[in-house]
Symmetry: C2
Subunit: 598 residues, 2 copies
């Protein structure tokens, strides 16, 4: 139907007849002539409709925004001074000979260039929203990224194997989406939270190198970077250790950034043990562009009179400072705002000291809390942080989790707002040496930090029984600019080690067999050493585009209430459908649907 | 961990030290030496363990089938006469210096080369089953095929856009898999039967060319070529007509066969209107390798005395013959078997005539039914079919559907069994010009043959109201060797035509708005002319591998009872999970789960 994409017509086509199809982006009447900006996926071109072709001109007069046209015309140079350098086609225009309205359009609910739309409006009219050039760019980039992943993995011998969507509910982890079975009354499939077990089974089956770009599902409350269904670049390999996997994976992500974004990421990526990341940044996905760091103070706060510090310091909590160079300039209002901000993360307050004159010691410090701190503590603060005149330190003192979350978030916020940045656009970092377990204070038991199939470090296998809290895992995450974009581990390939881990997790043999029997069976039949990683595709693309939300890189996302405003899903279904599935609604919700009699 | 894949070591590596990882495929002791066939994804290599390295030899003595080994050794030429030409590595062997057992294995449930396993055994131990070389080959070929699809589509400007898995139930079509919503009590998502509506929305949104290799779901009773979840190569394009789409798609499938299988399919594919396919072969996916054809006899059987023929011929049914050249040789037992076979398709019998001496007319024919047929009818049989001495004709007389199904299946069966084949390995054919509607005798209404978004032929739009049964669609299927491997259509892009189709289908405006409102809305805002096609990936790969069932080209398939024997899905879930989802089991099935009290 067409000879060119609108966005591809250039001065190279001068004096050629072209046929174009696209949407009316804008129509202007100027000096008796009609100018139509015709738009397609590749861009805009200006079409000029002269009144000297009356039939064509009459049609041109009838067109409105978003009409679909097919036009034929001759490419000519725009008059000098009217070129548009922001368009590929900006040097030329098409003098229209013929015009056909392929489809009219009613007036769209909003202008495509309206930047002040609510997300509800955008998602309700997603089809129009997706016509907006930045949404087109986002989804085209997403495709470029996924193809870059595929090409690298393909070239490195990885094989895409599809794993099931209708699988078994596993009570570990997040909440499953369930699918009632019609054939097996009272039974349910679950949608996969990840293909974790299947990819391990594929390694045991000898596929050696596996990948899949696949949907995963978690029925959790949503945040800006979460969707009920999300896309994972899922990767697993046999016969490679931790270090080799990390090298290959960072080479992959470097290639993806180079191909899709023409960005060179560092080679190699820096690596940082989990313990160091938490100590210095309070986060296992530190934004290394931010130059601010924590100052560890727990040890020197044990004996101070200030109970807000000594309490956490003597009861397993953490006390840390965050030095803000030049922070003495912060206004009372700003400090109040930061205090409110850390409250979101559970911090009950935000103590601070301004260093007016470090040489004067206690007397050079301005703060409500200085009087309750010992000379030793104050000296340690200055010495460890390198505080200088004009700086300010914020303090966190609480459980380690609250201090890390609150001060870690404050670090990023102030870093970005006040420009404590190292100037790099992209700062990836491997975070390694994660603990195997964390202690659940509520349930009084150890839980897996990663998942129960993660291998302990070889030299820590004995700690599984003697001191699980000290046991480190062969696990690694990639953080980029403060976002976790991928994570993985070397898996346990020997049944005896897997059993020890289950014992540490207080999962008895019967429970283990019930939940993971098929994996445990597979481990007995010659499982190779294997490990892998999964990238969050939505997050990677969101980072690349600079979008505010992953919803801007997904064609048809759900709202934070897990709804699709376009199709109005979820929705009610016929009672017959429920009957076929051997389920009924609980009474409380049986309002719109006839109460069932059986 | 390794320098080579086992299957890649060749004479080019002579005298090199290599390190290999893999599974013990076979171990033989011969003349005091241990031979281990070590296997990985790429093939086998023979490893020779000499007793002159005692530590290594002791380990070698301990290994059993399916142990995972890492071996280091020197590549040497096999002694003359012991080469194995069926292996890439067959000229060489590796003299083992070091051996490490990476993981032992218990005795596998079956030998990998056992060809007599039940499907239940294979699916229950799928991980071991997947180690079998033909399963490895099938899944590797599947990957090659899907990458060939992607490469062609990418090179032709198609963009992979992910569409939702959690979407809305549409009461049209097959039964949906439903997913209860936790956030919206009493509401349900549905898993997509295809991304049909979303891909049309993407065209309206201006993405121009879309593809996706994606899972689709139908909760239907299963057959050999059906799975609850199946994979579709889903394609849609804007601004292309029927003919251009078909040309591009056949070029795609030709490229896929050439790249993945090194097979050259015909260029161009033959095309055949639906009416012709049904008339000649009783099938809209005819196996054109089979040379047998139907003889149309309905018109000449209206007045015959034989009620079995005249009944259907005068009441809207069909009477057709299937001439089997040389079929006079068929035994009574064979004819009985075929009679039983057509019974599967609803035929109540299988009349036949043997042509002993065509020149003698009625007297040269042997059959119980000849006496009840008129001379005109017998003459038409011979003339239309070109029957010769020694041939046999089978007859079908029933509703057109039964005749087509029964005689169509018989055609394929006899064609393959008796060698009435044209010698081609691959016979693709486009079947075109499908009717828009078929009449549902039970519901006394027209239903869509394809789906309600299929465009009628331009010149048939008026028939939508005046004579729906005569209205043909811009729909096309690709059949290959008797399998439908893909199908598609040009879609309706104008709201007024879509409304006419809904009227013909007796779907009123309110119902249409309720079910497809978001598509109808989209059509109002400037929908481009568009159309597409979807290939069934499972079927394409099954055909390519010659597998008996699509289950042999799926890593983790479900049984015909929609179960996964490996993970034992579906399964029971906690009542708490159901409570979260606002559903409970119907009483009949509330056996294993506590009866709910609210």
């Amino acid at each position: 139907m067409r000879t060119h994409y609108c966005g591809h017509v250039t001065a190279a086509d001068l004096d050629q007849m072209v046929t174009l199809c696209g949407w009316v982006h804008r129509r202007r009447d100027h000096g008796g002539v009609i100018f139509v900006d015709l738009r397609d996926r590749e861009g805009l071109v200006q079409v000029v409709c002269d009144p000297d072709r009356p039939e064509m001109f009459a049609t041109a007069e009838s067109v409105r925004n978003e009409f679909v046209l097919k036009i034929t015309g001759k490419v000519r140079r725009r008059p000098a001074g009217t070129e548009n350098t922001s368009l590929t086609s900006g040097e030329i225009e098409v003098l229209c000979h013929q015009i056909e309205v392929l489809n009219p359009s009613v007036t769209p609910p909003f202008q495509l260039d309206d930047e002040n739309l609510s997300e509800t409006t955008r998602l309700s009219h997603r089809v129009i929203d997706l016509r907006r050039p930045h949404m087109q760019r986002n989804l085209m980039l997403r495709y470029k990224v996924s193809m870059a992943f595929r090409r690298f993995l393909d070239a490195n011998g990885f094989v895409d194997v599809e794993t099931p969507m209708l699988t078994k509910s596993t009570p570990e982890g997040a909440r499953d989406y369930l699918v009632p079975s019609r054939v097996h009354p009272g039974q349910f499939f679950a949608l996969p939270q990840s293909p974790q077990l299947f990819k391990q089974l594929l390694m045991v089956a000898g596929f050696d190198r596996y990948y899949q770009i696949t949907k995963c599902f978690r029925d959790e409350d949503l945040r800006a970077d979460r969707q009920p269904e999300f896309t994972q670049v899922d990767i697993e390999t046999s016969f490679m250790g931790e270090d080799a996997i990390m090298q290959l994976m960072e080479s992959l992500i470097r290639t993806v950034f180079a191909e899709a974004l023409e960005v060179q990421l560092p080679d190699p990526f820096p690596r940082m043990p989990y313990a160091e990341a938490m100590a210095r940044f309070g986060s296992d996905k530190p934004d290394l562009r931010v130059t601010l760091e924590f100052t560890e103070l727990t040890d020197v706060m044990r004996d101070v009179a200030f109970k807000v510090f000594s309490g956490p310091a003597t009861s397993g909590g953490r006390v840390a400072g965050l030095l803000i160079p030049g922070g003495g300039e912060l206004s009372r209002g700003e400090i109040d705002e930061y205090t409110k901000f850390v409250g979101i993360y559970g911090a009950k307050g935000l103590a601070w000291i301004k260093f007016n004159d470090v040489a004067k010691g206690r007397d050079g410090m301005q703060s409500p809390i200085v009087k309750n701190l010992s000379d030793e503590a104050l000296a340690a603060i200055v010495e460890r942080s390198g505080a200088k005149d004009g700086d300010l330190m914020f303090f966190g003192a609480d459980s380690a989790k609250v201090v890390n979350d609150a001060l870690g978030a404050l670090r990023v916020k102030i870093g970005h707002e006040k420009g404590h940045m190292n100037g790099a656009d992209w700062m990836p970092v491997w975070v390694t040496d994660f603990p195997m377990f964390e202690y659940d204070e509520d349930d009084k038991r150890w839980t897996a930090c990663h998942h129960p199939f993660t291998s302990p470090k070889d030299e820590h296998v004995d700690l599984l029984e003697s001191d699980p809290g000290k046991c480190l895992a062969k696990a690694y995450d990639i953080a980029l600019n403060g976002w976790e974009i991928g994570g993985g581990s070397v898996r346990i390939h020997r049944a005896d080690v897997q059993e020890k881990v289950f014992r540490a997790l207080n999962i008895d043999a019967e429970e283990a067999q019930l939940k993971f029997g098929f994996l445990l069976d597979a481990l007995k039949y010659g499982a190779p050493p294997h490990g892998g990683l999964a990238f969050g595709l939505d997050r990677v693309v969101t980072l690349m585009t600079g979008a505010d939300s992953i919803r801007d890189v997904i064609a048809f996302p759900k709202t934070q209430r897990a709804q699709c405003l376009l199709t109005d899903a979820p929705g009610e279904v016929d009672d017959n459908q429920l009957r076929d599935l051997h389920i009924r609604l609980r009474k409380k919700v049986e309002t719109a649907v006839e109460v069932e009699k059986d």
